[in-house]
């Protein structure tokens, strides 16, 4: 027995106009200053005005939202008493809004109560609408809430989660992504790529999530370079926007694996963009899973996937087909100028080595770390980090 959870999804050109049809007058908008500067908030409020809705804006979400920000937003939200909570932004705004939504509905709860085993009873005071402005995080479809906690000088990314914390609606309108700079287009798409591939080999993978991975991969391979080279290619933008949400459904219902554990830990310690981090680690963690001396599981899944995508030939052995998939990802990294090593990202060797042991241990605290088809100890995580620092293929 398992579940497949999804928000109601409204997608494609002009999907934002569906807001008029959604019941609820008072809207609490959770966003960040960058969205306002980019005039994306105006697009939303124009539609709200047209629909004769009221709104209040909370625009203090930083990238990698801290728990204090969520508590502050929740307090303002509780005072405003909205019918709808609208998240407009990337993963940070959407995750912050999920946290605010929970605390609005259940003011007696704490951040630490946002775990998978609690019954929340959301949706009695407000429904949540997620409007992603990047094509990657999939936060609009998942029940994960990544929250940054700083205590005793150590930064941790809490991976809070609850199946009820899925937005009620996700509006996937490509209008919000048309001015996304190429670098961010690439990094966020690589987040989606990591979602669909990590979900594909995760211990919790299932028939429903697998199907999502297949389609999302096809879309990213077909449209990413087009969207990267010409941001105003709206067909490519729309397809990549859809791909990110579909990849979100894939990993949201199967879970991310060790690449996300490493990405969160690297992000917490070096403030590296999430998509850049998980996209960078992707070939390394796939190689590690393919190299499993005890089981062929991951290799066989990736081999079949590689053949179904037309990356490998049906006559290829599993070894060759899985390797071709890894090579394809490296090629895509080059096409969109993604960093392939931590060194290339500009992380200083000294600082990296100083934090390496802490990072290896922090990976073990991540639930994602346990979902991999090949398990990893803190020493393994440290080695993978080191290989990724130098840009060396995983040979163990």
């Amino acid at each position: 027995m398992w579940f497949f959870d999804s928000p109601k999804i409204i997608f494609g050109e002009d999907s934002l106009s569906h807001l008029e049809q959604i019941v609820g007058k008072k809207c609490f908008i959770v966003t960040d200053p960058g969205i306002i500067k980019a005039k994306l908030l105006d697009i939303l409020t124009d539609v709200l005005k047209e629909a004769e809705k009221e709104w209040k804006i909370f625009n203090e979400v930083e990238s990698d939202p801290k728990e204090e920000t969520i508590l502050k937003g929740a307090k303002i939200c509780q005072e405003y008493e909205p019918d709808l909570i609208i998240a407009l932004g990337g993963g940070s705004a959407i995750d912050a809004a999920k946290g605010i939504w929970i605390l609005y509905e259940r003011p007696e709860l704490q951040i630490d109560d946002m775990h998978p085993f609690i019954k929340l009873g959301l949706g009695t005071k407000a429904k949540m609408i997620a409007i992603p402005t990047t094509s990657g995080t999939g936060a609009e479809t998942t029940w994960a809430i990544v929250i940054t906690r700083i205590s005793d000088g150590i930064t941790t990314k809490l991976e809070q989660a609850n199946r009820e914390a899925i937005p009620t609606y996700a509006i996937i309108d490509p209008i919000f992504t048309k001015d996304l700079p190429p670098k961010l287009t690439a990094a966020t798409a690589f987040d989606a790529l990591a979602h669909l591939l990590e979900g594909l080999i995760s211990d919790w993978r299932n028939d429903f999530s697998d199907g999502m991975s297949l389609k999302a991969m096809d879309l990213i391979r077909t449209y990413l370079v087009r969207a990267y080279n010409d941001g105003h290619d709206m067909e490519a933008r729309e397809k990549i926007h859809n791909a990110a949400t579909i990849a979100g459904l894939a990993f949201g219902n199967s879970q991310a694996i060790m690449g996300h554990a490493m990405g969160h830990v690297l992000g917490a310690n070096f403030h590296i963009h999430h998509g850049m981090a998980v996209g960078l680690f992707l070939p390394y963690i796939l190689q590690y899973c393919i190299n499993d001396p005890d089981k062929n599981e991951a290799k066989q899944i990736l081999s079949k996937f590689s053949k179904m995508q037309g990356i490998a030939l049906w006559a290829d052995s599993d070894d060759v087909a899985a390797q071709k998939l890894v090579q394809e990802i490296k090629n895509m990294q080059e096409q969109v100028h993604m960093a392939k090593s931590l060194k290339e990202l500009g992380i200083k060797k000294e600082e990296f080595e100083e934090k390496l042991e802490l990072m290896g241990n922090q990976c073990l605290e991540s639930a994602s770390a346990t979902m991999s088809p090949r398990s990893a100890t803190s020493d393994v995580f440290m080695r993978v980090f080191q290989y990724a620092y130098d840009g060396k293929d995983i040979d163990f």
């Binding site: 630490d112 085993f117 241990n361 073990l364 605290e365 770390a369 346990t370």
Partner: protein
């Protein structure tokens, strides 16, 4: 012949095995908290099994069978039917998925557990290292 699951002899061997499991030690380095496991009758199991394990910084400091009438305060209580425990120790059921499906119940600091999922997996893996006789 194997040891019957949940008996005093089995628990003794479980603790010894756990204390030799380097992967558990690595994953549970910072863990502090004792557990009471409650396995309720189901299928071929006609009685309730309770056992206690005190887990501390990658090791089990102690462990023993617990009588049904004994009052015991522990940081965590993990309970479920034997049928589900049987699936768990065969690795046919993931502990976290089992909790989310309502097949197990857990009392205690959940946030702490969610940061120790890897350690929980190793607690299960340790059972697989013992020649266990089931009900």
């Amino acid at each position: 012949m194997g040891l019957k699951f949940g008996t005093a002899e089995w628990i003794k061997v479980y603790i010894e095995t756990l204390n030799k499991n380097k992967d558990y030690e690595d994953a549970a380095k910072t863990w502090e908290g004792d557990f009471l496991f409650i396995i309720t009758p189901d299928g071929n199991l006609d009685h309730e099994i309770r056992f206690y394990v005190d887990l501390w910084h990658g090791k089990a400091r102690s462990g023993r069978a617990v009588g049904l009438d004994e009052k015991l305060e522990t940081a965590f209580v993990f309970s479920g039917k034997w049928g589900n425990f049987h699936k768990l120790i065969q690795k046919k059921l993931d502990p976290i998925q089992g909790l989310m499906q309502g097949k197990f119940a857990l009392k205690g600091d959940m946030g702490k557990v969610m940061r120790a999922v890897r350690a929980a997996q190793e607690l299960v893996n340790t059972i697989l290292m013992i020649d266990t006789e089931v009900y």
